[in-house]
Symmetry: C2
DNA sequence: CTTATTTGCGCAATCGCTTGCACAAATTAT
DNA sequence: ATAATTTGTGCAAGCGATTGCGCAAATAAG
C-alpha cells in the first residue's frame, strides 16, 4: 500500500538505515546523500509510518485525556472544552496529539485509563476528574504511569494535580455576601464525592465562622454539577419553606435554574434573593441581571495540566507536583444589594 | 519494561502464536490451554501492546478529528464540543478512540490531516471545516483516505459530508420576520469562505425574493464566526447610519454582541430591533429577552459524521454519502413583535 | 609517511504482535 | 483397520521503522 522506507532505500541504492538517519537528521549522513534521499522521498511521496516508528522508538507523542463519564456528558459543560483548549494549545507546541477516551462508567473510565497506559499508546494521561475516590487514579498510581489529575485528588501528595484555590475563592465569595449584610446564605449543589465542591463548601463555612455566623445545615442542598438542575435544587429549599436571602450555586448553570425558580415564586434577583455561581459561564455576563461568578480559568488549568504532565514524562526522578490556578471573583449585579 | 506476549508464552510453555490466538479468541485453541494462558496472563498482569498490534494488523481503531484553526480557538464555540460529544458517543460503542489534531493554520491543518492519514495512525478522519476551499479536503481526496466533512464542502458530490439544511432553515427564519411585518432585515456575520454562511445567506435572499422584497447589500455585514464580535459588526451598521428593524446574526454569540450594541444606542430588543441568531447557544433561552435561534443539533451531526465515516472505512466499494440533519427554528422573545 | 580519528554508511537485531502454512495427534468416516 | 478430516500448536516471516556495532574510506595528527 504505502511506500515504505525500504522502497526509498532501494530507489536510492542505500540501506534503510540511511533513510532512517536522513529522516532523523543524523549528522553522520553526508549532505550529498541526504539531498538525494530527500528528493527521492518527495518524488515517491513517502511519509513515515508513525505506528512503526512508535513501536521502534517506544514513544508515540500522544497523550491521553480521560474524561469522567462519557465525552457525551462531560462536554456538555463548557468547563471541559475550555480545559481541552488549554491542553491543546500547549500540546501542539510540543508536538503532542491528544487521544480522548470515551467511557461511560467509572469502571470503564478506569479500564480506558489502564489501556491508554499499558497499551503503549499514550505517554501520559490527563485525568479530568475530581472525585474523592477515583478508581482510575489508583490504577494509574499503581502502574506508576505519568499522569496528572485536574481537580484536587484525595491523595494529593502522591499524584500530580492542578486545581483552583477553591477554598479561598469560595471564602471570598461568601464574605462578599456577608459584607453586604446578607445573613441567610444558602449553598446549592454540594456533592461530597467531589473535592471541588467540598473545598468550596469549606471555604463557605470558614467565612461564616470568621464572621460569627452559625452554620445551618438546612441551607445546604446536595446535587450534582451536570445532572441536576438548579431549578430543582432551589425548589427543594422552597418546599421546606426555607427562604434564604442569598444563594451560592456550585455552578453558573445551576444558578440559572435557581434564578428561574426564584422568579417563579414571584421573587426578584437580587432584590429578594441574591445569587452567585461558579465557573463564569460564557453568557453569565450577558444575562439580566448579570451573574456574579468565579472565573476559574479553565484554559490555564489545561495548560498547567499539560505542563506538569510533560515534566513528569520527561523527568528521570519521580516527584509529585501541583499547580494552583487562582480563580477570580467577578462581582456582577446578581449579588449587589439593592435598596 | 512491560510484560510481552513472549513472556507469557514462556511461562505457559507454548508458542507466542498460541497466546496471540487466545487473545483473539481463535476457536482452534483448546479450552484447556485457553484457560491456562488466561490465568497466567492475569497473574503476570499482561496487557497487549496496541502499537505492536496496530502495526501487525494495520488497523488502529483510532479516528482523527481535525479542527479548523487550533483546538485553542475552535473549542471556544459550543458547537465544536457538541460535535465532539456526538462523535464520542458512537465512536465509543464501536470501539474507536478519537485523536484530536492541534493545528493553527490551514496549512498546518492540511499537514496534520495528511499525517493522520498516511502515517497509519488513524483509520479515518472527520474534518470540522466548512471552508469553501479547504486544502485538507483536497489533500485527503487525493489520498483516497476515508474521511467525512462536517459542513457542506464545495465539491459536495465527491466527499462524504454532514450538514444542516442551512438554506431552508434560514429561509424559514427570515420568513418568520417577514410574516410579522419586519421590513428591513439585516444579516450579520457573513463570510464568503464558509459554505454555512453562504447557504444561510442564500436562504435569506430567497425568502426576501419570495416575498417581493428587494435585496439590499447594505444590510449585509461580513464577519467571522469566532473572531469577530457582534458588537463591532452591529456598530458597523450603525456607523453607516443604517438602522434595521430586525437582525439575523450568523451565530448566537454574535447576536449577544448585537444586542449589547443596540442597547448602547438606547434602543430596545425586540421593541426597536428584533434579533435572532443561529446555533442555539446553551444560554440563549435564559437571557432577557430570550433569544430566537436555530437549534442545529450539533450532537446529531457528530453522530452522523461518525456513522458515515465508519461506513466508508468498512466499505469495499467507494461511494460518497451525506447526511442532512434538520435544524429547528426556536422562536423566543427577541423576535416577537411587541405592540 | 605512518598512525589515529573522523566520516559515511551497511548489517542485522529489535520493538511486540499477527497469521499463513505445516504437521502431528486425535477424531471420524469408510 | 486404514484413510480422510478435524483439532491444536508451532515455525517463521512479516508489519515499518530504529539503532548499536562494525568497518572501509577519507581526513587529521604526529
Amino acid at each position: 500500500m504505502g511506500v515504505t522506507i525500504n522502497d526509498i532505500a532501494k530507489a536510492a541504492k542505500v540501506s534503510p538505515s540511511t533513510i532512517s538517519r536522513v529522516i532523523a537528521n543524523n549528522p553522520r549522513i553526508s549532505a550529498a546523500t541526504r539531498e538525494r534521499v530527500l528528493k527521492i522521498m518527495k518524488k515517491m511521496n513517502y511519509h513515515p509510518n508513525y505506528i512503526a516508528r512508535s513501536l521502534a522508538k517506544k514513544s508515540t507523542r500522544i497523550i491521553g485525556l480521560v474524561v469522567p463519564g462519557s465525552t457525551e456528558n462531560s462536554f456538555r459543560h463548557p468547563f471541559f472544552p475550555e480545559i481541552l483548549r488549554g491542553i491543546g494549545s500547549v500540546a501542539y507546541k510540543n508536538g503532542y496529539n491528544i487521544l480522548i477516551s470515551s467511557a461511560n462508567t467509572a469502571a470503564e473510565e478506569k479500564q480506558m485509563a489502564k489501556e491508554f497506559a499499558v497499551g503503549g499508546i499514550t505517554e501520559g494521561i490527563i485525568l479530568m476528574t475530581s472525585m474523592i475516590k477515583d478508581p482510575a487514579v489508583s490504577e494509574l498510581k499503581k502502574l506508576k504511569f505519568p499522569f496528572v489529575v485536574v481537580g484536587r485528588p484525595q491523595d494529593q501528595n502522591e499524584v500530580n494535580w492542578v486545581d483552583n484555590n477553591n477554598f479561598s475563592i469560595s471564602y471570598e465569595l461568601t464574605n462578599h455576601f456577608i459584607a453586604q449584610g446578607y445573613k441567610k446564605i444558602a449553598f446549592l449543589g454540594v456533592s461530597y464525592e467531589y473535592t471541588v465542591t467540598i473545598d468550596r463548601l469549606e471555604g463557605y463555612k470558614k467565612a461564616l465562622e470568621d464572621n460569627g455566623f452559625e452554620f445551618d445545615a438546612d441551607l445546604i442542598v446536595e446535587g450534582k454539577f451536570i445532572d441536576d438542575k438548579g431549578y430543582d435544587l432551589m425548589n427543594k429549599l422552597i418546599e421546606k419553606d426555607i427562604t434564604p436571602d442569598a444563594v451560592i450555586a456550585i455552578d453558573d448553570l445551576i444558578a440559572f435554574g435557581v434564578i428561574a425558580a426564584i422568579r417563579e415564586k414571584g421573587l426578584h434577583v437580587p432584590g429578594d434573593i441574591a445569587v452567585a455561581g461558579f465557573n463564569n459561564a460564557p453568557l453569565s455576563e450577558y444575562m439580566t441581571p448579570s451573574l456574579t461568578s468565579v472565573e476559574v480559568n479553565a484554559f490555564t488549568l489545561g495548560v498547567k495540566a499539560f505542563e506538569l504532565l510533560l515534566a513528569d514524562i520527561e523527568s528521570e526522578h519521580k516527584s509529585f507536583n501541583r499547580a494552583i490556578v487562582p480563580g477570580e471573583l467577578i462581582i456582577r449585579k446578581s449579588s449587589i444589594k439593592t435598596f
